[in-house]
């Protein structure tokens, strides 16, 4: 599964002329107007574009949270339009992980319980012991093994987002979808999170994320730009940065500033 894809392997995501039209009262809003796209396993894609260009709408369709109005969306070869609510839920549970701009953690619920959440809904069921083991593992992976019993209200924004990422990882998805995951974080914490994403991507997980910041997009392998519901550019990122190096550079800069 995580082996490098041979040329003929089917793409993880295949979008064919995908559209989404919202009907609100009399007005029709064409949020996505025909997107055709392929994303292979192991890619790390940034989607950029002005506000209102349809990025979130597209992400929601990719995440099977919302159904397209027209066109086709194949996830791992399966036509999503043919699945019912139950099957979509099962698909999200098995193959997808979500990271939201606003973290979306359950308040008054501990970090580990938040991370265990997707495992409550697996088919077949997962035992409590196994749930805990995997949640601890995921929290270790995001570097928060020492915060298992913390409630989100007692954690920083960056830590909350790490917990959300652990939750997205815990069911070992093939694809992690992140809509502005760094939108509520400062620069340093943002780079931190990007470092985490790069690590995950290196381990074989495909990542698609929306971002407004060009700076953040430079950590991705491929950058797609949207305007008015359409893809206007789609390029590989030749000068990909490593978050670890950026952080080291930031540290040095801070030290110099302190000395001066």
């Amino acid at each position: 599964m995580s082996a490098p894809a041979p040329a003929l392997a089917k793409p993880l995501l295949h979008l064919q002329d995908l559209t989404k039209t919202y009907h609100t009262g009399e007005v029709e809003v064409k949020a996505v107007r025909g997107v055709t796209l392929e994303i292979q396993r192991g890619e790390f894609v940034a989607i950029m574009g002005a506000s209102g260009s349809g990025k979130s709408t597209l992400m929601n369709m990719l995440g099977c949270l919302d159904q397209a109005t027209g066109g086709a969306y194949l996830l791992d070869g399966d036509d999503v339009a043919t699945l019912d609510r139950r099957q979509l839920a099962m698909l999200r549970n098995r193959k997808l992980g979500f990271v939201f701009q606003s973290f979306n953690l359950l308040a008054r619920t501990t970090a580990i319980e938040n991370v265990e959440l997707p495992l409550l809904y697996t088919m077949p069921l997962t035992s409590a012991k196994e749930r805990r083991r995997r949640a601890v593992e995921a929290l270790e992976r995001v570097g928060l093994a020492n915060r298992l019993d913390y409630h989100p209200s007692r954690l920083s924004g960056g830590q909350q987002q790490r917990i959300a990422i652990a939750r997205a990882l815990v069911s070992q998805p093939e694809l992690v979808l992140a809509d502005e995951p760094t939108g509520n974080l400062d620069t340093r914490t943002s780079i931190d999170i990007m470092g985490l994403f790069q690590e995950l991507n290196d381990s074989g997980i495909t990542i698609v994320m929306v971002t407004h910041e060009l700076d953040i997009a430079t950590y991705c392998k491929r950058v797609i730009v949207m305007r008015d519901g359409k893809v206007i550019s789609d390029n590989a990122n030749a000068e990909r940065r490593r978050a670890t190096e950026a952080l080291a550079a930031l540290d040095d800069a801070e030290k110099e500033a302190n000395v001066a």
Partner: protein, 416 residues
């Protein structure tokens, strides 16, 4: 096989869901308690009401059977004479000869006691007390299943001679003699001295609420000849050999009296026969209705409790729309969401049921302390209350749960 595994899955899933539902309820502890309170009150009142109903029924039945075993009472006068009912026993139709004839000619009759009564001042020991003077035959105690704590009953000979002897009720004895032993003492009624020869066992208040322990029982002949001058009886108490003979005896007595009174086919009876079995049955059916009413009232409060649960569950679904959206996003199937909210509702109602049962038992006990009967909590009403509160949880939790499960994941996630 397949069904078995899916059932097993459902059970495990329900068990897991319990650990989602319980913390959610605990997070809103006050609200959960208040919601459960509706069910607590409902279940408690069902249990207490049914217990009180049972207790009252048993108490009244005990009083009916305390009237005596296989008792027929023949009252003078028709219950529907010319549309005016002047009160049973007030008419003058039954004679001593009638009573004698019943004892002599009706086969299954094992005891007969003609009854007359009056109210008078009894004077003894320097005290004065107004009481009932009841004239009976020696059979009376046996017929009424009544015992003496001291002394003896008067005899047939004393009846024939209209002797001035009396058996005294425990209350009357207390009023007149205090702690003194009344046996052998003299009591004056209408200036006629009576010798007290027996003391009645205490029987408490009877069906009509009158105190049965406040009376003097004397030979019926004595009342008629020496006190009132009446020539007619108020009633005749008759004991029948067995409860299966009641019907036949009643028919035979009716025929005998109609013949003796010269009543032809067109005439109504000029007497009225009360069958103790009939009374018992009527009382049972009346108390049954009362029980049903009490139960229904309690049931309504249970219903109100259920509506309270539904209300809170609906609020909870709205409040937690984003949580529902998140759960759906990470893969919760609609059924899992439905199960979660259903579980919360059922937990609330079952917990309410449990506490309600305890409260109900306590309330029944308390009523038992203040009322003069024992409230009887039966196991079946506990089981039913449990089953009903569980059903209420499912029933009233179903709509909110279905509403939660029907939410669209993306709309729920975006909900503010």
């Amino acid at each position: 096989m397949n069904m078995l595994t899916s059932l097993q899955n459902l059970l495990i899933q329900s068990w897991q869901t319990l650990f989602i539902a319980l913390p959610a309820l605990r997070r809103n502890l006050m609200r959960s308690l208040l919601t459960a309170l509706g069910i607590i009150i409902g279940v408690a009142s069902v249990i207490a009401m049914v217990a009180v109903g049972n207790g009252a029924q048993a108490g009244i039945q005990a009083q009916v059977s305390a009237l005596g075993e296989n008792l027929l009472t023949i009252f003078a006068g028709s219950s529907r004479s010319g549309g005016v009912n002047s009160g049973l026993g007030s008419a003058s139709t039954i004679t001593i000869a009638d009573a004698d004839a019943i004892g002599r000619e009706v086969r299954d009759v094992v005891g007969v006691s003609p009854e007359v009564s009056t109210t008078a001042q009894a004077i003894a020991n320097g005290r004065n007390w107004s009481t009932s003077i009841v004239g009976e035959s020696p059979d009376y105690l046996k017929i009424r299943n009544w015992k003496l704590t001291d002394g003896s009953m008067f005899t047939d000979r004393e009846v024939r001679s209209a002797a001035r002897v009396a058996v005294i009720g425990s209350k009357t004895a207390l009023e007149l003699f205090g702690p003194l032993n009344p046996i052998g003492q003299s009591v004056r009624v209408k200036n006629i001295p009576f010798v007290i020869i027996g003391l009645l066992e205490s029987k408490g208040s009877g069906m009509g609420g009158q105190n049965q322990d406040d009376r003097l029982i004397v030979p019926y002949t004595t009342v008629m000849k020496r006190l009132t001058g009446d020539r007619f009886l108020r009633s005749v108490n008759v004991q029948v050999a067995g409860s299966d003979r009641m019907e036949v005896a009643q028919q035979q007595i009716t025929a005998l009296l109609r013949q003796r009174h010269g009543l032809t086919a067109g005439h109504d009876d000029d007497f009225n026969i009360f069958n103790q079995k009939d009374i018992a049955e009527t009382v049972t059916s009346i108390t049954g209705i009362i029980k049903l009413l009490l139960g229904a009232i309690a049931g309504i409060s249970l219903l109100v409790g259920g509506i309270g649960i539904m209300n809170i569950m609906l609020v909870s679904v709205t409040e937690r729309t984003r949580e529902i959206g998140l759960r759906m996003a990470v893969g919760a199937q609609p059924f899992a969401i439905k199960l979660q909210f259903l579980m919360e509702a059922v937990t609330l109602s079952l917990l309410g049921g449990l506490v309600g049962v305890l409260f109900g038992i306590g309330m029944a006990r308390l009523v038992g302390v203040f009322a003069n009967f024992k409230a009887v909590v039966d196991v079946s009403s506990i089981l039913i209350a449990f089953a009903v509160s569980c059903a209420i949880g499912v029933f009233f939790g179903f709509y909110p749960a279905r509403k939660a499960a029907a939410l669209d994941p993306i709309d729920a996630l975006r909900y503010e």
